[in-house]
Amino acid sequence: MLNIKKLTALLLIASISSLSACSKDNTSSSANKDKNLITVDNGEDAPTIDPVMAQDTTSARVLFDLFEGLTSFDQNNHSIPGLAEKWDVSADGKIYTFHLRDGLKFSDGSPITADDVVFSWQRLADPKIASPYINLAANIVNGNAIRAGKLPLKQLGVKALDAKTVQVTLIHPDAAFLQICAMPNTATVSKTNVTKYGQTWADSKTMVTSGAYSVAEWVIKGHMLLNKNPNYYDAKNVSVKQVKILPIVDFNASFNRYKTGEIDITSSLPIDQYKGIRQDYPTQEHTVTMEGLYYYDLNMTLPKFRDNPKLRQALSMAVDRDTLVKNVLGQDQVPSYSYVTSTIENGKFADNHYAWGSWSHANQINEAKKLFKEAGYGSNHPLEISISYNTMDSHKKIAMAIASMWQQVFGADSIKTAAANQEWKSFIQARNTANYDVARDGWIADYDSVDAYTNLFLCKDPLNKSKYCNPAYDQLIQQAQNTPDPDKRATLIKQALKIAQDAYVIIPLYQYTYYRLVSPRVSGYDMDNNHFNHVMSKWYKLN
């Protein structure tokens, strides 16, 4: 008992002093005053630092520091000159001629030439390397044939005209091509370095980089230390000399280390403390709408969904997105009534949403009830439905909330819901093979192009998990892709989206947000308009 009393006392002291000593917003929590070193949490170790192999934000975060492509991103996700200082586009929008900057060098001092750029693009398209982002090369002339192993790499439509000029020929014009050129996967690597070390070239000790930083040290699960690359073309504007990237999986641990000043920028926040943190750190906490959608797939291979559009619509209309976002989640997510976000391509498709989204909730429910009945379901013929999701608290909460919304709207005796909770990899496999009724899904766009969302509904796209297939939709999207005129393209895409949305094959729920704490000693990082969460350490400045 003595022990318990002592511990309770200790707990009390700790909680009281933590309340009083809690480093609130106006007090600088940084014990770490080294102006040359910034410490940021990346949430996990980068699974790879080979640009073409990266497929996650963790790797991308590191790669944006290590490598640069023909173009780069600014903090508003617009493409800006990168290794290429300028470019010309042919009238039909299919040929891009990039002019590299003068005196470009890799981190080891060797020159960056057009050959290195061509080599990097060829690596991306090389089926032997198996890049998960090989599709970024699909629109380049011969890209698909090379990917299928039918043509040699040198036939790829990326050519070095001279040491400083690269020409890329596309199959059809692409408004987002300059964004693709800024993606980490298309970044320029050193041909000499990669050829010398072969498969093991992406070793932190021998790797040569083209970006603002190079790897000084990497302890897996410990830290990655980046040093400023003195040979980077814009080195004079890179303010922070060293970046320490930590892989802290536990958000609470990360938050604690932020509070003690060991970390300057967190990767996320402990969700259960979200509201408190927002209150305590109003200027340090940033919540940003992310370019991505959370939605539910309806399995279109099942007759009950495939043959019953009214049922699909009823299920979508019965979900009260406002309640879901405000009361179930509460992290400033934006309710969604569309298959695309309202922010993509500067809001070009913002008006593309279900008209009933703006109706009163009562009207939405009445219509949903009517459709459900017309679909042939009721207490005498109840609908049985299971919601699949991967093990995670937030997914579970959402599934529970939606199941109870459906039961409330349609009546508990008219719909029987079951939650099918699966471990991550088993879930992915079940969803990819259409082995589910309703499945949780989400998609985050990599760059500013509506294609990120429209591709999800193409008949043969591997990301089309609902297995919806309408040739008319595919045809309109293809037409849009072949149209150089941006307005005409937008019109065609809107027509296509209307077809898919009216088919109710997914239930769009909300647009994601991401959040992190940024120490007051960091300036230059303006994340509030950075919907894609592309981050580069060269932006940081330390006060």
Partner: protein, 310 residues
């Protein structure tokens, strides 16, 4: 004794082989593969990756190739950290992986074992004293309050509130960074060691031969050090072997709370990512450690208990 050790090592080879076989097939028949993700790979890319990792071969061939690699000292390449050899991840040149966990376990054991044994012995000798009650209740307390609770509490008190120590990380493996994780592990293991020692010494002191020794008029000191100490240590030693192996592969929670680059995080990630080679490597490592420590325990038993020697 050497003969005994060799015999034990030889016997453990089939055990290890059985573990490898079982884990290999269990891991491979679990649904999902290492390369499944939110972004489905193109068929060409998937085919190429499967070939790189030999996953396109029949299972028995993969198994034989795996055994062959293992005999040659290689655990294969990680499927999560693409292209990184498992040996390098588990046993890196710089500080990290097994070396971190090993240091953590050694520091913990070096402090927890003598401290626990002394406390336990003292409590057993003074049964029902306040100290004895403290030992018993702290064992109950720290069994009920796991490191998942004591860890964050220590961070809150020592790091966040009083700013005496760092909240996590490995630093250069310096005392400041090691203090809290080692403390938490000591808190978790010492009470158990003390409790087992206490129980054992009470049992031994109640046994007939000690009573006989007492009746013969031997001084208490002599009874304790000549007759009681060896049998008292036997159950403690059989506890320590698996305990040490357990910390080496199982300090997952502590490592996660203090964000240490040890084996713990690698273990949990490996399972969710279906990093077949990493799961295999960690299971094999855990098995080898358990086998080795069991042999050590048996050898110590022989030293302590003359009955077994015969």
């Amino acid at each position: 004794m050497l003969k005994f050790a060799i015999k034990r090592i030889l016997v453990s080879i089939p055990t290890l082989l059985a573990i490898i076989t079982l884990v290999f097939f269990l891991v491979h028949i679990t649904p999902g593969n290492p390369f499944d993700g939110e972004r489905a790979l193109s068929p060409e890319a998937l085919k190429s990756l499967m070939a790189q990792y030999r996953l396109d071969l029949p299972m028995w061939q993969q198994y034989l190739l795996y055994l062959n690699d293992f005999i040659h000292g290689s655990f294969g390449i990680s499927m999560k950290y693409l292209g990184q050899p498992i040996n390098h991840l588990l046993f890196p040149d710089n500080m990290g992986g097994f070396w971190v966990t090993l240091r953590l376990s050694i520091y913990t054991m070096v402090i927890a074992v003598p401290f626990g044994i002394i406390c336990g012995a003292y409590a057993g000798l003074h049964k029902n004293s306040w100290f004895d009650k403290l030992v018993v209740s702290s064992n109950i307390f720290f069994t009920a309050v796991p490191t998942m609770v004591t860890g964050p509490l220590c961070v809150l008190v020592f790091a966040v509130t009083f700013r005496l120590l760092p909240a996590g990380g490995w630093g250069d493996g310096d005392i400041a960074h090691l203090f809290l994780p080692v403390l938490v592990l000591i808190l978790a293991y010492t009470p158990t060691i003390a409790f087992v020692t206490r129980g054992s010494i009470i049992d031994v002191l109640n046994s007939n031969y000690i009573r006989t020794a007492r009746a013969k008029g031997l001084p208490t000191k002599k009874i304790l050090f000549k007759h009681a100490i060896r049998p008292t240590l036997l159950p403690v030693i059989s506890l320590l072997g698996p305990m040490f192996a357990g910390i080496l592969v199982g300090a997952v929670v502590t490592e996660q709370i203090f964000t240490l680059p040890g084996l713990g995080v690698l273990t949990t990630n490996a399972a969710t990512n279906r990093d077949y080679n990493m799961i295999m490597a960690i299971t094999i490592l855990g098995s080898i450690l358990t086998i080795v420590f069991n042999i050590v325990v048996d050898l110590l038993y022989m030293v302590l208990d003359p009955k077994i020697k015969q």
